[in-house]
Amino acid sequence: SQTIHQWPATLVQPVGSPLSLECTVEGTSNPNLYWYRQAAGRGLQLLFYSVGIGQISSEVPQNLSASRPQDRQFILSSKKLLLSDSGFYLCAWKSPRLAGGSTDTQYFGPGTRLTVL
C-alpha cells in the first residue's frame, strides 16, 4: 500500500530564516506530486506540482521554491521566510495514469504547520 510522509509536523521559524519541508511517498512509482498551502480558514492553494524528477511547475509567484531530487521525494524551500508564509503545508500524490475517476484522486500527507514570527 502507498503511504505519504511529511516532516516536520510543526515548525516555528523567525522572519528571514530559511525553510525546508520534506515529503516522501512509498509504495508507488513516478507519482505526480503537489505542494499546497492552507491559510487559517481558507481553502487549499496549489503552490507547485511535479510530474517527474527535476520537473517543477509553479502555480503562483511567491517566496517559495520546490525541488524533486528523487522520484518519490518532494521538497519545499525558502531562502527567507515572510510572515505571510505561515500556514498549513500539505503534500499530495496522484497516480500518473490517465485521468478520470479514481485515478484523479490525490492522497494527502499529514501536513506541516508553519508559524513565522
Binding site: 481558507r42 499530495a92 485521468a99 484522486t105 490525490q106 492522497y107 494527502f108 499529514p110
Partner: protein
C-alpha cells in the same frame, strides 16, 4: 470570479439532522467532481466523486451535480458528531486540458473550493 466557490460557513447542526453543502463552479470544462473531507489539523481525504449530472449515493452521503446551473451539492443524512469537519469540493482539470503529460496522462490538478466548516453537536 473564482472557478469554485463554497459558502465557508461555519455550519452547526444537531445530531441526526440532514446537512446540505454546496459549491458553484464557473468552468464548463469540469467533467466530474470530488468531495474531500478534512478533519482539524489533518490532510484532506477523498469522500466521494461523481460524474456528470444526477445523484450518487454512498451510505449516508449523496453527491448531486446540476451541470446546467453549475451547482454541486453534498447531502449528509442522519449526521453524526464524527461528521464534524471541513468539506471541500474539488473538480479535477479536464483530461483534455492542455498542456498534458507525454503519453496522454494528465497533470491531475484539482481546483479546491474554500471549504465549508461543519459542526454536528450531540
Amino acid at each position: 470570479q473564482k472557478e469554485v466557490e463554497q459558502d465557508p460557513g461555519p455550519l452547526s447542526v444537531p445530531e441526526g439532522a440532514i446537512v446540505s453543502l454546496n459549491c458553484t463552479y464557473s468552468n464548463s470544462a469540469f467533467q466530474y467532481f470530488m468531495w474531500y473531507r478534512q478533519y482539524s489539523r489533518k490532510g484532506p481525504e477523498l469522500l466521494m466523486y461523481t460524474y456528470s449530472s444526477g445523484n450518487k449515493e454512498d451510505g449516508r452521503f449523496t453527491a448531486q451535480v446540476d451541470k446546467s446551473s453549475k451547482y454541486i451539492s453534498l447531502f449528509i443524512r442522519d449526521s453524526q458528531p464524527s461528521d464534524s469537519a471541513t468539506y471541500l469540493c474539488a473538480p479535477p482539470e479536464s483530461p483534455w486540458a492542455t498542456p498534458r503529460r507525454a503519453g496522454g496522462t494528465s497533470y491531475g490538478k484539482l481546483t479546491f473550493g474554500q471549504g465549508t466548516i461543519l459542526t454536528v453537536h450531540p
